[in-house]
């Protein structure tokens, strides 16, 4: 391939005429020196600055993630507790409401019973009073009828020319009225 190489490579001399600068041993010392310098520089840059910094960032991130997870777990626990408290409060309130309703119902029932009893008593009192009044009226009416009948019988007998004595008329009317 390098058959007609002349000027350029000739200038660089012997070993390179074979074509591989890699095998030119005269450059090895120089290469090795600069390589070692480079490696030492890289090693110090890495160990003094880059790697500790990246490691710190990574572990810090890991710590943050762990903390966040713990905090999330805690918050979740809190939420569960809050829900339980809420449910308990709800159940308590419901029980309380039921109790109040039952109490109110019992109270109303008692009031109602009392009022009904009172009304019943009043009604029966009124009924008895009315009955008494009716009985009185009826008695009065019978007496009036008796008197009217006696008068009427006396008048009738009188007009017919009979003289009726009061005693026998009364007895007759009373007997008649009983029948």
């Amino acid at each position: 391939m390098a058959s007609n190489t002349h000027s350029t490579e000739a200038a660089h001399g012997g070993a390179e005429a074979a074509g591989m600068p890699q095998l030119d041993f005269s450059t090895f010392g120089n290469q090795i020196f600069w390589l070692v310098v480079t490696l030492v520089v890289i090693y110090f840059v890495l160990t003094k600055i880059a790697l500790p910094r990246i490691e710190a960032v990574l572990s810090e991130r890991q710590g943050t993630i762990t903390n966040d997870l713990a905090a999330a777990e805690e918050l979740k626990q809190k939420a569960v507790e809050a829900e339980e408290a809420y449910n308990k409060a709800l159940a308590d309130a419901r029980a309380e409401a039921n109790k109040i309703v039952a109490e109110a119902r019992a109270e109303i029932q008692a009031d109602l019973d009392a009022a009904a009893a009172k009304a019943d008593a009043e009604i029966s009192a009124k009924a008895a009073e009315s009955e008494a009044a009716i009985a009185e009226i009826r008695a009065g009416a019978v007496d009036s009828v008796k008197a009217v009948s006696k008068d009427a019988v006396k008048e009738i007998l009188g007009s017919m020319g009979y003289k009726a004595d009061a005693k026998s008329v009364t007895a007759a009317v009373t007997a008649r009225m009983k029948g």
């Binding site: 391939m1 390098a2 007609n4 190489t5 350029t8 490579e9 660089h12 390179e16 074509g19 591989m20 600068p21 890699q22 095998l23 030119d24 005269s26 450059t27 090895f28 010392g29 120089n30 290469q31 090795i32 020196f33 600069w34 390589l35 070692v36 310098v37 480079t38 490696l39 520089v41 890289i42 090693y43 840059v45 890495l46 160990t47 600055i49 880059a50 790697l51 910094r53 990246i54 490691e55 710190a56 960032v57 990574l58 810090e60 991130r61 943050t64």
Partner: protein, 279 residues
């Protein structure tokens, strides 16, 4: 349904087209080269190490084009990992996400492959990964220089790993580290033979470790340069090599990452062997 059929039919057609393009390119390379005496493809010139300032001799401490691109790799790493993470935000910005992703990627690799007790060597492995990654990707910029295409660089990287791992193995386990070569699961007569094979394979590790990286990176860059040379020579047919360059370049982007990954994960595997040598 018709679209799907067309798609399935497209697979082989693309393959055939690709090979046709390759054939045309190679053929025209052969046919046209005598007619174009100017066609001189120098695929290896891009790997030449030249002094950055002046054109003097290359000494030990001369600042070269390779030095420049290594420094640019450092700058890239600083931009990505230091500047990117400067916000230190709990909810990361885009740049910080990239830095964290790179960190997490290598950290997890070390932890998964080499074990929990290897985590204290993570900064060193991160250094290797970031350097190779940035050298590879910066090398994909046209006219740039790829530090990892040089065997001297990758060999030093591999030797650092090899020596470190071997010393660590003996420090942590003493003579027990030699258990790595003594396959206790095998029948007793086979064990010495296996020990020799294991020993050889152990010492071949740095060779394969370094040549794999340099070879992959170098080959891709050289192929692109060869195609570029064809494109210069083919006149109106130059779109064919340009298409091929695009395809190879896409492959190279993949290779740049994969080779950095492979180098790093092999380092982790070797580290695991040093920490837990039992078979």
């Amino acid at each position: 349904m018709a679209e799907q059929g067309a798609k399935q039919g497209a697979g082989p057609i693309i393959k055939i087209a690709f090979f046709a393009v390759l054939a045309v390119v190679l053929l025209s390379g052969v046919l046209f080269s005598p007619a174009h005496p100017g066609l001189a493809i120098h695929p290896m010139d891009q790997f030449e190490i030249k002094p950055l300032f002046g054109d003097g001799k290359l000494g030990m401490f001369t600042v070269t084009n390779q030095t420049l691109w290594m420094v640019l790799a450092i700058v890239g790493i600083v931009l990505m990992l230091v500047v990117g993470s400067r916000g230190r935000a709990i909810v990361p910005t885009r740049g910080q996400s990239v830095a964290e992703m790179a960190y997490g990627f290598v950290y997890k690799m070390v932890e998964d492959v080499a074990g929990k007790d290897a985590v204290k060597y993570f900064p060193g492995i991160m250094t290797l990964f970031m350097f190779i990654l940035f050298a590879n990707f910066l090398g994909l910029i046209p006219t740039s220089f790829t530090a990892t295409s040089h065997i001297a660089v990758t060999a030093v990287l591999a030797m650092i790993v090899f020596v470190f791992v071997t010393v660590l193995g003996f420090v942590k386990n003493g003579a027990g580290f030699l258990g790595l070569f003594w396959v206790s699961a095998a029948p007793l007569p086979l064990r010495p033979i296996l020990a020799i094979i294991e020993l050889i394979s152990y010492f071949v590790r740095p060779v394969s470790h370094s040549i794999r990286l340099a070879g992959n990176v170098m080959a891709g860059h050289a192929v692109i340069k060869v195609f570029a040379g064809f494109a210069a020579a083919l006149g109106m047919f130059s779109f064919l090599p340009i298409l091929a360059i695009s395809a190879v370049y896409a492959l190279e982007v993949l290779v740049a990452f994969i080779q950095a990954y492979v180098f790093t994960i092999l380092t982790c595997v070797y580290l695991k062997d040093a920490l837990h040598p039992s078979h």
